[in-house]
């Protein structure tokens, strides 16, 4: 029987095609927003979590310079770290070890070709080598790791070795870094991160060729197992404040852990989500009111038909059902198109993210979501139709027939 009501309702909708389409727009936009929002934010969340889990959650990066805005911005931007800062970090409770590499862009020559390559000059004490190895900072594919006795040697990133130069750089080749001759002792494996485009050399020779006696570009701390990364990051902040003699809130350095980054990214996406949910809610509300309006008009236009149906045996409940199904179907059709459009937008946005940032955002529409969105839009439509449908069902047959 319910199938007959759907058939009758569909004829009612089809009769006023233009008005029905216009009515659908509100619901359509709302469902589009909700679907694209949920699929995209889920995909982004997954992608971001994936990126950070690659980096590892037991690390803290300390970079010189505070926030790049505010009254003290000029002063803090020029701040630098030295070995003492690295030692301060190393002494904080819960820190397993801390490394302070010197980071520069170096001009590198190989067989007559010169390229600018990001260069990390790492400490190469046996302890530092252990940290680099154990935490996967340098993951050798070909060749070998640094030794404490190494001097003019380099470990190349995957891209450095295979793509940067016309000729492939192999282990054992000689390259010129800032006019000093270096022997390539190892090539890193492909990681999918910035490590692919970065080259490593020992810190001592780095200080020599870049003429930097003291500076440490950033400090990289490994947190001991069993300690909360966030809490230790706070302690590091405190210790560095004391060491560098700055007040809280005026730090000339920034402490970041992947977790903290993840949290701030999550916070941003949450704000975006809240705004979009707001837009979606308003759109859905307006859509619902639109459906209600259309249904009221429809009831007024079809008063006579309602009278005829009542004369031929339609109960109040049958009329109520007929109009509820009709308004529910308006919502449902809006939902179907909204679902398709929302999925399309998510796919497009995912592709843009892939092309622009190389982040793979997997956009997934689950069956639960399809059913949920369709059920929601049908119920929403039906609810919007409750008052008009009740008005229709309460019409007096004689009055209705007189129209």
């Amino acid at each position: 029987m319910i199938a007959d009501y759907f058939r009758l309702a569909f004829k009612g909708i089809a009769r006023r095609r233009v008005r029905s389409w216009l009515t659908l727009i509100g619901i359509f936009i709302g469902i589009t927003a909700v679907v694209s929002l949920i699929t995209l934010s889920q995909g982004m969340q997954d992608a971001i979590t994936e990126q950070f889990s690659k980096l590892g959650s037991n690390r803290v990066m300390i970079t010189p310079g505070g926030k790049s805005f505010g009254p003290t911005a000029g002063a803090v931007m020029t701040a630098k770290f030295d070995d003492d800062d690295a030692d301060t970090v190393r002494r904080v409770k819960g820190v397993d070890d801390a490394l302070g590499p010197l980071i520069r862009t170096a001009s590198v020559e190989f067989r007559g070709e010169t390229k600018a390559i990001m260069t990390f000059a790492y400490p190469t004490s046996s302890n530092a080598i252990r940290i680099l190895e154990r935490n996967g900072v340098i993951d050798i594919e070909d060749g070998r790791m640094f030794r404490p006795s190494d001097r003019y040697v380099a470990i190349l990133g995957y891209t450095n070795a295979y793509d940067d130069f016309d000729k492939e750089v192999k282990e054992g080749n000689t390259i010129k870094i800032e006019d000093y001759e270096f022997k390539v002792i190892g090539i890193r494996g492909k990681s999918g991160s910035f490590q692919d485009i970065a080259m490593g050399i020992p810190l001592d020779v780095g200080r020599e060729i870049f003429d930097e006696k003291e500076e440490v570009s950033s400090i990289f701390a490994i947190i001991k197992p069993g300690y909360d990364t966030g809490a230790v990051a706070e302690d590091i902040k405190k210790a560095l404040r004391k060491h560098r003699n700055v007040e809280e809130g005026e730090e000339d350095f920034t402490v970041n852990s992947p977790q903290m980054l993840l949290e701030s990214v999550t916070m941003i996406t949450d704000v975006v989500k809240a705004v979009l949910i707001g837009i979606a809610a308003v759109s859905i509300l307006v859509g619902g009111i639109g459906i209600m309006n259309t249904m009221y008009t429809s009831v007024a236009e079809r008063t006579k038909e309602i009278g005829i149906m009542k004369a031929t045996g339609a109960r109040n409940s049958s009329i109520m059902m007929l109009f509820l199904v009709e308004s529910g179907m308006l919502g449902l059709i809006g939902g179907v198109f909204g679902l398709a459009a929302g999925y399309g937008i998510s796919m497009a946005a995912g592709k843009i993210a892939m092309d622009a940032a190389g982040i793979e955002v997997i956009v997934a529409v689950t069956p639960a979501m399809v059913i949920g969105a369709l059920a929601f839009s049908f119920v929403l439509g039906a609810l919007s139709g409750v008052f008009p449908a009740r008005k229709a069902s309460k019409l007096q047959p004689v009055e209705a027939l007189r129209r």
């Binding site: 029987m1 089809a14 005829i308 339609a314």
Partner: protein
């Protein structure tokens, strides 16, 4: 001895129009037997349409009782009245009153949907009825693709859909030319004779009323008895408009 299927006992219908009460029916008592073909005649404003609505369970009397098959409908709920309308009464209206978006077939099936008849049975019954009405070629046409006579035949088929005992026809030929009207009246007589339906027909046209066996005349909300007076009234209503000008000419 045939038993009455419809009985009205001292039925009053009073409408409230603003501050004043309008008495549409003033104590009408009528009895119509099973299988009878009755006409209700009266000038416009006489209350015959109101009477029709009460008999058709579309409305309830202000005072008095309406009995259908011995049961007082004045005490029924809207839902029960709807069931009676669907199962026991078939309506034929002056303006045909088909649903414009539905085909002839779907219009005939509509009362059966509300009466929870299976799809298969609905299609079978509707096809048979439309064929009986001579509309075999017209089943999938919409009302606006049908002539007036064809639309009224679809309406008659619809009235028969749930095989009701009573057919109520309200000016069934009012919107048709005389030839088509005659054809429709032949069909209605056919319902009376072959289908053994009780027919109650409202009309102001004495020729149309002449098809009926029993004639009831309503004047000013009462059943009329003075035949000379009634003839005059009816002649007047047929040949003059409300201002007393002769009919025709303008229309």
């Amino acid at each position: 001895m045939k038993k009455p299927i419809i009985e009205l006992k001292d039925v009053w219908k009073i409408y409230r129009m603003g501050e004043t009460d309008v008495e549409a029916l003033k104590g009408i008592s009528i009895s119509i037997n099973e299988d009878e073909f009755a006409s209700i005649q009266g000038p416009s404003g006489s209350g015959k349409s109101t009477l029709m609505h009460l008999v058709g369970c579309l409305d309830l009397p202000t005072k008095g009782h309406v009995f259908l098959d011995g049961h007082d409908i004045s005490k029924l709920t809207e839902s029960q009245l709807a069931t009676i309308r669907g199962k026991r009464i078939g309506f034929v209206f002056q303006a045909f009153n088909l649903i414009p978006t539905l085909t002839a077939m779907e219009n005939v099936m509509l009362p059966m949907i509300f009466n929870n008849v299976s799809r298969w049975k609905r299609e079978k019954t509707a096809t048979e009825l439309l064929m009986e009405m001579g509309l075999k070629e017209r089943m999938n046409h919409k009302p606006n693709q049908l002539s007036g006579g064809e639309q009224q035949r679809v309406a008659i088929a619809r009235a028969l859909a749930n095989d009701p005992e009573v057919i109520l026809a309200d000016e069934p030929t009012g919107n048709l030319d005389s030839t088509t009207g005659k054809h429709i009246m032949d069909l209605i007589r056919h319902l009376s004779k072959e289908h053994k339906k009780t027919i109650i027909m409202v009309t102001h046209d004495p020729y149309i009323a002449s098809f009926a066996k029993k004639k009831v005349v309503i004047v000013d909300g009462k059943v009329g008895h003075d035949h000379e007076y009634l003839k005059k009234i009816l002649w007047k209503s047929n040949h003059e408009d409300k201002k007393g000008n002769p009919k025709g000419g303008k229309k």
